[in-house]
Amino acid sequence: MASNQIMFILFAAMIIVFSVLTVTSRKILRAAVYLLFVLVSTSGLYFMLNYQFLAAVQLTLYAGGIVVLIIFSILLTSHISQKFESSGWKKNVFSAIAAITGAILSIITILDYKFSATTEAAKEVDMRLIGKSLLSVDYDGYVLPFEVISVLLLATMVAAIVIAKKSGPAKTQSPTLNQE
């Protein structure tokens, strides 16, 4: 077996095992840590594909950004002794059915698709190429999605500020961190 295959199997097994653990763990912070492992292994897959930019972005945004925010909010809201009660058997059965159906559907689709191997040499995707195609208006350009996402992000940021802003003179007592 080639080293590539061994690495792929390792990453794939990690992704599957930790994904299952993420949804089955009853301690919320452990679930977040398992999610971190899933995201880091995914970035390992990107590294194997030689798409280093995407791998690094995966690490910064998901592992370094989103998981940190999730953990941070868990730190603020939950105590270490908290443990979720196990859900009833009905919920378990139905969610298992939903998950297995989804998995079967996507596996069938993947197996149906004819993946044709290209004979082209592996492309070095460098920063310049990514930047140019992000802002290009040609056939391969991504300027429209890029702009749409920027507007969406701006809207979310404005919304967050509006929500967080103190509303006028009517001061409501809200518990803060300092009172601990």
């Binding site: 840590v33 930019f53 370094g64 998981v67 940190v68 953990i71 868990i74 730190l75 460098d126």
Partner: protein, 379 residues
């Protein structure tokens, strides 16, 4: 291949004298690579190279950790007009080795109401994050474990993951001091990461590449701090401040403020697990300093000035590795100077500094740098 020893274009020649290797490690690494290839298959060669690099980095990691702890104590003593450690060995240089043995022999105290899985995992996350970052740093010509084409982004991404270990350590200790320390550290690192990233992007605009070897190579005619003059200098200052904050060092060491939180997030840790946090803090400082040295101060490139050929020749005579270590320790000394001369900030002052001062300065600075590069006003 991802795990290949870095490929440098120059071809190795066997007729060079042995000391030439200190100026260009690529011939040595090529020789090791080809002899391993002759001895075994591709698969085992990759494994063997990974092992060799892993052991070397581990050794380097431990030595740098020991030395930095000693250096910190000596610098601190110098700032406070004391002598510092001076009993164990000449000038106390074996003091940290004695401390290391003390930490190794200490009992690992298990915490009763802690989440033991996360409690034991946290120090490893912190140390693995710094370990992954050190792999992408160019130490000298040809002495570079992985040369990714997005090297700078990778180092920032990986070194920022250490905060997860800090947050987990604080929460799983089931201790209020630890929790508050972890929370402060989280808020601090998440916000200061922006400034670190933006100040490096300023230089990436000037270099036109994120590959660390290319960034170093582009500084052959002059370090970026001189080439990019005003905006590069501003970016360097911002980088120094924000990276000091990102490594949780004083004056931004709120996460472990000993006067209010005993030891912050690692209060409950003992023995070698505590040593992991302690070591990772110093290695993170080393990583940040070597990024500063690589991106702003030319990495392993010698100090060359225009047409002063005699001067340049003398400078070229100093091996690149010495240049790299010298620049890195210069930055480390500045960071230690910060720690022992400035008073600790409050959490609100800390966040004000980042969001109201450093971030706007940085954003404007990026624009200025882009304008400068477009107009060709850099050297």
């Amino acid at each position: 291949m991802l795990f290949d020893i870095v490929d440098v274009n120059s071809s190795p020649s066997l007729s060079d004298p042995w000391w030439k290797v200190f100026y260009d490690f690529s011939s040595l690494t090529h020789k090791i690579d080809s002899s391993l290839h002759n001895a075994m298959s591709q698969f085992w060669t990759t494994i063997a190279e990974m092992l060799i690099i892993g052991v070397l980095i581990l050794l380097f990691y431990a030595l740098i950790g020991l030395f930095l702890v000693y250096a910190e104590r000596k610098v601190c003593a110098f700032m406070q007009n004391r002598l510092g450690p001076n009993r164990v060995g000449p000038f106390g240089i074996f003091q940290t080795i004695a401390d290391l043995f003390k930490l190794l022999f200490k009992e690992l105290i298990p915490i009763k109401n802690a989440d033991s899985f996360l409690f034991n995992l946290a120090p490893f996350i912190v140390i693995i994050a710094s370990f992954m970052a050190i792999a992408a740093i160019p130490f000298a010509k040809g002495l570079h474990a992985i040369d990714l084409n997005i090297g700078v982004l990778y180092v920032i991404a990986v070194s920022a993951m250490g905060v997860i270990g800090v947050l987990l350590a604080g929460w799983s200790s089931n201790n209020k001091y630890s929790l508050i320390g972890a929370m402060r550290s989280g808020a601090q690192i998440v916000s200061y990461e922006l400034s670190v990233g933006l100040s490096i992007i300023t230089i990436v605009i000037l270099a036109g590449s994120m590959q660390l070897s290319e960034i170093v190579e582009a500084q052959r005619t002059g370090w970026f701090i001189f080439k990019g003059h005003i905006p590069a200098f501003i970016a360097f200052i911002v980088f120094l401040v924000s990276s000091t904050a990102e490594t949780n060092r004083g004056p931004f060491d709120l996460a472990e403020a000993e006067s209010e939180l005993t030891a912050g997030y690692h209060t409950e840790y003992s023995g070698i697990k505590f040593a992991f946090f302690f070591l990772a803090e110093y290695i993170n400082m080393f990583i940040v300093a070597s990024i500063a040295a690589t991106v702003f101060l030319g990495g392993w490139m010698p100090f060359n000035v225009g047409h002063w050929d005699g001067f340049n020749h003398v400078m070229d005579f100093v091996p690149p590795f010495v240049w790299y270590i010298g620049k890195t320790f210069f930055v480390i000394f500045i960071m230690m100077w910060f720690k022992w001369t400035f008073p600790r900030l409050r959490i609100d002052q800390l966040l004000t500094l980042e969001w109201k001062y450093l971030l706007p300065i940085n954003l404007v600075n990026v624009l200025i740098m882009a304008f400068l590069v477009l107009m060709g006003w850099h050297f």
